[in-house]
Structures are given as C-alpha cells and as structure tokens.
Symmetry: C2
Subunit: 555 residues, 2 copies
Amino acid sequence: MTMRRDQLRWNGWGRLGESMGLSPARERWLLDELGRRLEHRFSTPPALVSLDQIRLAPCKIAVEIQSALRAACGDAGFSTSALERVTHAAGRSLPDLLRLRRGELVYAPDAVAYPASEGAVASVLRIAADANLAVIPFGGGSSVVGGVEARTLRGQAGALCLDTTRLDALVRIDRDSLTATFQAGIDGPALEAALRPHGLSLGHFPQSFEFSTLGGWIATRSSGQSSSGYGAIEDMLVAVRVVTPEGVIRTLPAPRSAAGPDLNALVLGSEGTLGVVVEATLRVHDAPAVLEDRGMLFRSFSDGAAAVRDATREGVHVAVMRLSDTAETELARTLRRDPERRFDPAEIALGLLARMGYGEGRTALVYAIEAESRRKAAPALRRMLSIGRRHGGVPLGRAPGRAWRRDRFRTPYLREWLLDHGIAVDTFETAFSWSRLEHGHDAVLRAMRRAAELHAGSGVAMAHLSHSYTDGGCLYFTLLYPLDHGNEIVQWEAIKREVTEAIVAAGGTLSHHHGVGVDHQPWLAREKGALGLAALRAARTALDPRGLMNPEKLL
Amino acid sequence: MTMRRDQLRWNGWGRLGESMGLSPARERWLLDELGRRLEHRFSTPPALVSLDQIRLAPCKIAVEIQSALRAACGDAGFSTSALERVTHAAGRSLPDLLRLRRGELVYAPDAVAYPASEGAVASVLRIAADANLAVIPFGGGSSVVGGVEARTLRGQAGALCLDTTRLDALVRIDRDSLTATFQAGIDGPALEAALRPHGLSLGHFPQSFEFSTLGGWIATRSSGQSSSGYGAIEDMLVAVRVVTPEGVIRTLPAPRSAAGPDLNALVLGSEGTLGVVVEATLRVHDAPAVLEDRGMLFRSFSDGAAAVRDATREGVHVAVMRLSDTAETELARTLRRDPERRFDPAEIALGLLARMGYGEGRTALVYAIEAESRRKAAPALRRMLSIGRRHGGVPLGRAPGRAWRRDRFRTPYLREWLLDHGIAVDTFETAFSWSRLEHGHDAVLRAMRRAAELHAGSGVAMAHLSHSYTDGGCLYFTLLYPLDHGNEIVQWEAIKREVTEAIVAAGGTLSHHHGVGVDHQPWLAREKGALGLAALRAARTALDPRGLMNPEKLL
C-alpha cells in the first residue's frame, strides 16, 4: 500500500508531527497580528478527542458478507478495525476537521476493502450489490466537499468503503506517444516517482498532491497548481477504465475522437457515483530541468489580472501564475516577516515601492516557468517581464516564487495550527469569465466579510487568481474567522451558505476544482439545470441501477 | 436566411456553376494520369437525373399539423415543396451523391420547418411530439456520414426536417472575456463576417466551412483546418443552449467548472439525437493580420511526422500543419503541373532534390503561421524551420502554402468533376496515438488498395496527417476508384466496410471529425463499449423519451 494511513493524522491534515514550520517567535507575531485583525481574544478550544475515545456503532455487515469481501481482497485487504473505519470516515474540509477534533464520526463506514486488482474491484461491487451495501470509493480521502462521507440510502444494509490505494502500479509507458498508464489508486508522489526514471512528469500538483490519488483527480475534475502550463486533469486524460456495478467502461486511447459524445467527460467529475476508476492513460511530458520561480508586484488587482490574462492569451508557456489580491498580499507579507529581524531589506524595498504607487492596493504575482534548460526558459521569462511591465508590474526577483514553491504543500498545516488557536480557515473557489471577475471578486469578498461578521463577529477575507484562461479565471477565496466553540458546524453552515449563494449569484461556477460532494449539492441544479441533472442521473442509473455508488453525493 | 439553397447544387457539392477551376488542358492531363494509375478506361456515367424528374412520395404530415407548424414558423418558414424536400434529403457523402445523381431519394423528409427563434424551435418539437413525427435537425446539410437522412422509427407518422439556418444572429460579443455568442444556425462565412468588424475571428475552418453551421459543428464534434492553432470546436465552446423535447439544456458561461461531469461534452457529438443546438458562446481571438503559409519537403513520411510531432510538443503556435504522404504528395504534384508549360522551375528543383535523397519517398508539409504582425510571426517561423531541419526538411517557400490556402474549400468540386468521369472519391479519417500511427497508416492504405482492387479493379490510395496532438495525430485518407455503374452503392458499401474494419482493427478511432451518423454506427460499440453506449442512450432517453430526435443516427 502506497499510503501509510497509520502515519497520517486521523483527525487533521497530513503527516503526524509535520507542521508549517514557523518559529515560536513567528507564531506569536502571527497570532498577535490575526488577533488584532479579527478583534478576537483567543479562547482555548476544547481538548482534542483521542482515537481510543471514539465510539463507533457496531459493524452492520453480516459475517458471511465480510468473509466474501475478505476472500475477494485477501486478509490484509479487508478490515473492520476502528482505526480503518475512523481514517475512512471523513474528508478534510473544515467541517470534517471540526467534527473529527470533537470525535464526532457521523458517517464512518462499516468496513474498508482494499481490492488489489480490477477483478477484485468488480468482485467487491458484486458482493456489495448482493448484500445491498453502499460503496464509497476512497483514494487519498482529501475531499473538501464531503465527497467521501460513508452515507447510505434508506434501506441499504451498510456502507463499505472501497480504498483504491493498493491499485498503485505503473502499467506502461508509451514513449512514442508520450503517455503513461497507471492504476488509479496511485498517489501523487508515487506517480511522479514512477515517471522520474523515464525523464517524464505528469505535472499535476493539486494542493492535496501528497495525499490524493489519480482516480480521485479524475473523479473530481481536479486542477493543479501547474495547470496553467500542463492543463487540468481533463486535458491530461487520454483513456480510462471504470468498474461500474453493471460492468466495465473503457475508453479508447486515441488523441481525439468525433465518434459521439466523449465518455471520458462523463467519468471526469462523476465523483464515484458511476463506479470506481481503476486505470487511466495520461499525457505526460519531459520533466523540466529548470524551474524559474519569480515574483512581480502590481499597483492593483486589476493591473495584475490584466497581465495574467494577456500572458494566457498570448500563449506564454507559464506553469504557474498566482496573483494574490491586496488582502492576501498583505497577509503573505505578515507571514513572511521575521519579527526577530530588525533589518529587513524586503521591507525597506516595499517601503520605497509604496512611494512609487505600489502601496495600499498592491498585489503580488508569483509565476513559474519550467523548461528543459535556462536557455529555453529565457524567452518566456522575457515575455512575462514585458507583459508585466505593460501593466505597471515591477519584478520582485526569485524570492517570492521560491517561498511559494517551498511552502506549496505546507499551508494546510497552518490551518491545523490556527484551529488549535480557535481560528477557522475556510476556502471557496469559483471561476468567472473576465467580464464578471472583478465584480465577482468584490461581491464574494463582501459576502464573506458580512457572513463572518454576522456569524463570527469578524473575519479576514482574501483571494487569489489561481488559474487563468483566455475567457476567464479561477478565484480562490480564503476566510479566517473566530470559531464559536460548541456551535462550530452551525456557524460554518451559515457562512458556507451565504458565500456560496454570493458566488452563484455573481455568475461564478459552483466549483472550479473542489467538486460538489454533499456541500455544494444544494446549488448544483442552479448550474446544470434540472434537465441537465436529469440527463446525468439517467446515465448514472444505467451504470448503477440500484444506487450503490457513493450515495447522496453529487447528483 | 443566410444560406440560399436555390443557389446550391441539389445533387452535388457547393454552389451552382462553381468548380475546381482547372483549365481544359489540365483536366485532360489529370484524366490521362488518373486513367494510367487506375488502369481504367473512362466509361461515360449515366446522365444526371434532373430535379423535375424526381418522384417524391406524398407528404405524410396531416394538414392540421402542417398548419400548426406554419403558425409556429411563419408562412415563409414552412414548406412541403419538392425543392425543399429534395435539398433536405441527404448529406454530401459519396453514397449521398451517387444516389442523388441517379435521382434516388430514399430518405426525403415530408416537410421542412425553419423556426426563427428558440421559442419556435420548442414549438416545432412540441407539435412534432404530439403528431408523432421524427425531427431531423439540419444546418448546412454537409454531413458525410448520413447524419441528416430523414429516417423514422417504426410507428412514427412522418419525418420533419428542422432547418436551423434562420437562427443566424450574432447575439453578443464579450470583449473582456474574448467570447462571442451566436445563434447556432449561422454558417461559417456569416459567423466570420459578423466577427470581422470587431477585429475578431473564431478560426474554425472545416472543409465544409462555407456550407456548414455552428450548431452542426457542435453536434458533430467538428475539427477544422486551423484546429492545430485555435483548437477544435470542443476547445472553443464555453456554453450552449439546446432545445430538447423535454425542455432546454443550458450550460454556464464559465471558463472551467468541476461541478460534476461537463454537460457541454454531452452535447458535443450528440448529432441531433438529444435536441437542437440553438445558441452557443465561443472563445474567439484577435483576427490575425498576417498569414504566413509555407511548405517543406521531407525524405519520408516518418521524418515529416516527427517534425510535426515535435512542433506540437514544443508548443509552436502553428495554425495549420498538413503533411501529405508520398502518394498524396505525388498526386498534388500532378494536380499542380501545367501541361502547357515547358519550362517549370518547380519541376527542375524537384529533380535536383531527388538526387539529394528527396526522391521516391518524399512527403510535403504545408504549414501556416498566423499572427498580429510579421514581427510576431517570425519566432514561430524560425522555430518551424529549425524543427524541420532537425528531421531533414528542406523549405519549399511560400508557393505550396499559398496553393493550399487558395484551394482549401475548392477540392470538393474536384470530386464532382471526377464523378462526372466515372471516378469515385471517398475519404476515411481516424486518429492514432503516435506509437500506432505508422502501422495504422500502412494497414489502412493496404486495406484501401485491397478493397479497391477487389471491388473496383484498381484504386489510388493516399493520406495526410491533418491534425497533430502531443500523443497522436489524425490521418485523413483519400481513395480514388473506378465506379461500377449500376452497382455503385453495393461497391461503396463493401469498400467502406473493409476500410473501416481496418481502421478499428489498427486501434484508430472510428472518426476523428466526420462523426458517426448511420455510416459509422455499426462500429460504434467497438469504440464506446456496450456499457458506454448504454449510458449515452439513457441520457438521450431522459431528454427525448419518445425518440423524436434524429432517429437511427449515432446511438
């Protein structure tokens, strides 16, 4: 098994013992700063519940069914242990963490199966169908929309979590076609490690990279930090195999087809409701030897956004472009500052720049150009500088880009630490067409601040433009607010509802890359229309007539 | 109405009186040359049947239904005339033309309706549902796979053709988002003309450009000659509105969404079986001011293919890359030669090049770089030369590219003229991954030659690589063979069956951009799988429970 869940936090993000890595002085400084902004005296949150305090309902799966599942998956591939059931009980959304920290496990599965082959997956689905069990496909378990909750339909006899992480092999590399075929339970680091000896890379780096799987990326229409350069998962996917309760769906590994609607697109974003993604063939590329990370400062968010938009439209090959708005730029500055350091050249430079108009409204862009060699990276670097200057950007050199790359997978640990201090961090993401983006940015920030004030007394709201397209971009919003201990879930629900409503009302998509799960489901008909949903539900019913697969999610 | 069908050939391609434009001397030379290659004495084909000789079955639609349709579409928007029924009876495939030339109209619709608004389309579907009529959406009618045949299911009371070409308005341009919204019955030239005053272009140029519509492009997952530069229709489509028998499907104009499976992808390639595409929002781009068309010669098809593949992978912005194989390169040379010209510098140059290894196996690449200015085109031109040289390519200057651009929409007229002389031209297109492409090229050429020999005595088979992706490319095959007069359809069916079988057996897709219609349908389950088809059929049934829409096509 690739993913050693015993080395991961059962009630939080990531690996045991790992953190954002702030020094105690920095932590104090940050808490003071946030305390000031949130007008918040930090209450000590309730003590974390330990794993052995958790009370689970007895497993509802009959012993003979357990035996059949054990026969299909092997003794090591089936478990009803508390550890397995608890570590497969929730994703990693804010409400998931809030519940786990209190020891509330509303949706723990009755058992966990780890099939190690496509045939074993089919057997598990057959046994589950006969025993009337719900089946919840589970990869890395990093869903932030409730996508892996072990829900059941009324009348179902129990919930079986199907963990895909034993399906973690590289199946083949097609060097001529620059494609690689993997079993879909492989996680991000293992996938990149398997490609590295061949000089190849997939280039898909969602924030969850270390704790998410290929099958999960496909099932949730995942987008990564480098998707500006290498595309999102739908651009990478050539062909897929999905085991459904009615049999296997497989698509043809051809670069394009006009033979009817694209079945890959039906699987992408299906969130485990059609079946289990077991194998996928992906477009890969030569691993870049040179990573040129840079920063640039703009006078305003609209200047920065215009530069990002132009770079996208002019086809500059930039792997990453991330433009923080003014509030996020300031918070990043706070995080970056070392309170023990008196002489800080960066702060002095910022002071000078403020006098040149890069003051209150300034925004920072981080971008990365990846290439075979420095020489090959040079034209894109030059074009980025030139496009940036056109919109008043001043180069900030390598430091901001390097800091971003160093911490790119570490920021979720900050959320853990803030929760320890009674501060909630939630994120909202959407995509707007360019003509709606500035209005959308304002409207959602306003809704976040209003909701935080109403339900938490105060809040810090910010955003960055994380992905750019010729016709629009993804805004990724972050909201910090003081937790109302004892009332956390109700508080979260109210804020989530009001902010999501603002996103949809402003013409944004319900999700640019987090997916739907249960948290976004109430709004799905607003985006797809009742008839669109009916068509998707009909396709689902054809593949899963009894409704085994991931009940109550998405559709 | 944009498209004046009375100015078009009812029994052939394109505009009345238009031709490929060869001089009589060139025509004689070409016929001699083809006669030699096809070992064929040209028999005079049977005389064309004239329109007034056509016998149509009486219209089966009851008078009160006709009145209702007339009320929905206006008097000018409904017709049961012979001209309308005949011009909407078939697409433009080889068997379509063979049948039309003999006056055989197997699938003429009973009437043609031209709704001029989304509401009128909905009314037509409602009336058709009540009257149990099949509805065949019809845009330009350029299908080459039988996609617009007015078939009916057993028990249906008649066939109504729904011509979309009155839905031809530009709805709005969103300059900030670089998108344009059109009604879907607009044809290629009208669409580009509407964008031109805004300095914009869509850049979608299928061979049928002049006689096909936006809705048709979407419904058939169309790809154009410039798709290497601007993407195929699925890359351009942001949002769509489709009137189905159960109501309207509309998608959100956002640049990307992870809110469940992409509904645009369900509409793309649905071939009128779900409903009528009435409106679409598309990504557009600044119209290029400079078109740099060039040619390059390679020693072999694999050298040329390697150059095209590298240019694609290195992201050189090339609008068009079209690599002819050896046979097509030689036929193009024949077509290009002026038999009345004694001194032909190009022929002399080719003679010299032959001694340098660019002889028997040589292949010609045509490519086009489109940009804002010469200066902006220069880097891509340089990179193309450098990549070409890496694979032994020698530049052929501007002439081949210019000739290609001049004739890009005229070659179908050549097919008419060849049919007049008893020579059939059929085309087959597919896409292979790069690792299968050379084998696929050989296998399909072999199958074409074998089928032509068996069923026509001889044949000339050739291909070009028309579209390139990082993981593979589209091969577009052309087959010329002598017609077996009186037995044309049986002859065509046998050849079509054997060649398509070879394509599928070699791992190619059933269609890269022509679609499925009725001609490719027998093989569709081989590509999609029975379960994949079941899912698509279920979605269709949700939108069209009675099976009104384009019966017997695709699914």
